[in-house]
């Protein structure tokens, strides 16, 4: 039964439909996997085993009656900054250790209403910014090498999906917090267009940079989950009213003839050499699918990065103002960001917010004649927990600036970004990020799915799973 823990959501649904497996089987398999790997990984903050088994039995009834919904009986996890009615939502912080919301976040309600089964609330950097060492809930470890970080801040979501604890997890992304752990943990993750998924009920970090999205083991699962999570909600003032297209169908779209732009420069100039080689190979594999790769120019990325960080600093201090007197109770990275952010001037913040439109115009030009952009999902492998430094080719540098540099620009622009695993360096995953026009996740799913149909990187399982006894 344990192989069900490694099945994708789409595979589970197919097996429920043909009767070769049931939601109870799948939940049981995930619970067994959780029991086996959690001592090494620590991705779960709150386990909801009994509740999940009860829902799985109800899901079986729905399948029997022919009333299955989009995610009927599929287990999933939520980053623990997503509110869940009647269930602890800690924010990964001692400050909210006993907090129990009375209302589901909009996206949590949608996953539940689609028949998904919430199995666990998942580890996060404290309030999505505290750093890899969470003083309250311990360190979440990378299933590919437990001495290395998952990246973050959606640490538990990345680790749980990679280790087969759940097939789908929700993460949030302000400067790469879905895409970095997706890249470091060898899974698929999409930061959708800004406003595509309602943020109502999700603890904020930076309201103009925050996004929520799915993390999965396949592009098709990401499309399936995003289709459920996306769509207008009046409780989020910035949520788009655009209809959500058929994203699962987009995964079958022919990509031959598509053009993908490669901006190089800022995105590729601080790379681990072997990661660079794997990235190069992934573009060649894309070309073999009939996709044309062309160079495009994005010239002002250092300014874009500076604008993005200025906004994160300022909005974070504003949102977390209540916690400023408890600064020294916060985990290290969050405390430092809050202290430093307190001295950003209003003038710089407002300039950064206005500069966002300048970058969008530059991006619009870069997209002329191309369907998507390709940049590294990560320019390095996951750094060791004891140093949190990345090798960028003979030089060890602090992980945060390196890890976020291929992501922050697209939080600033609001563009969707899809990360897919593309190979391994020293046994650790490397990743490609495909970036699309706003509200064109469909093209990213088409490209990513075509890539995964002809490659097997997303199917490789990490060592922590191999050590689980049958």
């Amino acid at each position: 039964m344990s192989d069900l823990a490694d099945a994708t959501a789409v595979e589970l649904l197919e097996r429920y439909a043909d009767g070769s497996a049931s939601p109870v089987d799948a939940v049981t398999a995930c619970l067994e996997r959780i029991e086996a790997v959690e001592p090494a990984v620590n991705a779960v903050v709150t386990l909801l085993g009994e509740e999940a088994l009860g829902q799985a039995r109800q899901a079986e009834e729905r399948w029997r009656r022919g009333e299955a919904r989009a995610l009927e009986g599929v287990p999933y996890g939520l980053k623990d900054i997503v509110a869940t009615a009647g269930i602890l939502t800690t924010g990964g912080s001692s400050l909210y250790r006993d907090s129990v919301p009375t209302e589901d976040a909009a996206l949590a309600a949608r996953l539940h209403e689609a028949g998904g089964i919430l199995l666990a609330k998942l580890h996060t950097f404290e309030f999505a910014c505290g750093g890899a060492v969470n003083r309250t809930f311990g360190i979440c470890r990378n299933p590919w090498d437990v001495e290395r970080t998952t990246g973050g801040s959606s640490s538990g979501s990345g680790a749980a999906v990679a280790a087969g604890e759940v097939p789908i997890a929700v993460g949030t992304d302000t400067g790469g917090s879905i895409r970095i752990p997706a890249a470091y943990c060898g899974i698929t993750g999409i930061k959708p267009t800004y406003g595509r998924v309602p943020r109502h009920g999700v603890m904020g970090l930076s309201w103009t940079m925050d996004h929520a999205g799915p993390m999965t083991r396949s592009v098709r699962d990401a499309a399936l989950a995003l289709e459920v999570m996306a769509g207008h909600d009046p409780r989020d003032a910035t949520c788009s009213a655009r209809p959500v297209p058929d994203l699962v169908a987009a995964c079958e779209q022919d990509v031959a003839g598509m053009v993908v732009g490669r901006p190089r420069g800022w995105f590729e100039d601080r790379m681990h050499p072997q990661v660079a080689a794997v990235f190069e190979a992934s573009l060649s594999q894309m070309a073999e699918l009939g996709v044309t790769i062309v160079d495009v120019v994005l010239a002002d990325l250092p300014l874009v990065d500076a604008a993005g960080w200025t906004i994160i600093y300022a909005e974070m201090v504003s949102l977390h103002e209540t916690f400023l007197p408890m600064l020294e109770d916060r985990d290290a990275m969050g405390a430092r960001l809050l202290a430093d952010g307190s001295f950003v001037s209003a003038r710089d913040y407002l300039r950064a917010v206005r500069y966002r439109s300048v970058f969008q115009a530059e991006l619009q030009e870069a997209f002329a004649g191309v369907d998507a952009l390709a940049v590294p999902g990560a320019t390095t492998i996951a750094p060791p927990l004891d140093t949190m430094c990345c090798d960028v080719g003979g030089e060890e540098v602090d992980w945060l600036a390196v890890a976020t540099r291929t992501h922050v620009p697209f939080n600033l622009s609001g563009s969707p970004g899809l990360c897919v695993p593309i190979g391994f360096v020293d046994g650790l995953p490397a990743s490609l990020q495909l970036v699309g026009r706003p509200h064109d996740e469909a093209t990213l799913f088409a490209l990513g799915s075509a890539y995964q149909r002809t490659t097997g990187h997303h199917r490789r399982r990490p060592p922590v799973v191999s050590s689980v006894p049958d």
């Binding site: 103009t208 300014l303 600064l327 001295f343 710089d348 300039r351 206005r354 966002r356 300048v358 115009a361």
Partner: protein
């Protein structure tokens, strides 16, 4: 023109920020290292009249699928 610790302490007091001495020193280091790129950002001309970018301009661009 680096801000002195006394200046930053005064700003912290002015804004009622409960900032320790270590945090003051850390913030000075951070902002010193960011200053060159912030000056470059400040030097980018932003239109006053036609095409004056405001926060809602960016949201409209997103909603219009990356066009204006």
């Amino acid at each position: 023109v680096d801000p002195t610790p006394d200046f930053v302490r005064a700003v912290a007091r002015w804004h009622s920020l409960p900032t320790s001495e270590d945090r003051i020193i850390g913030a000075i280091d951070t902002h010193r290292s960011r200053r060159p790129i912030l000056e470059a950002l400040r030097a980018v001309p932003l239109p006053f009249l036609e095409g004056c970018p405001e926060p809602a301009t960016a949201l409209t661009w997103i909603e219009q699928r990356g066009t204006r």
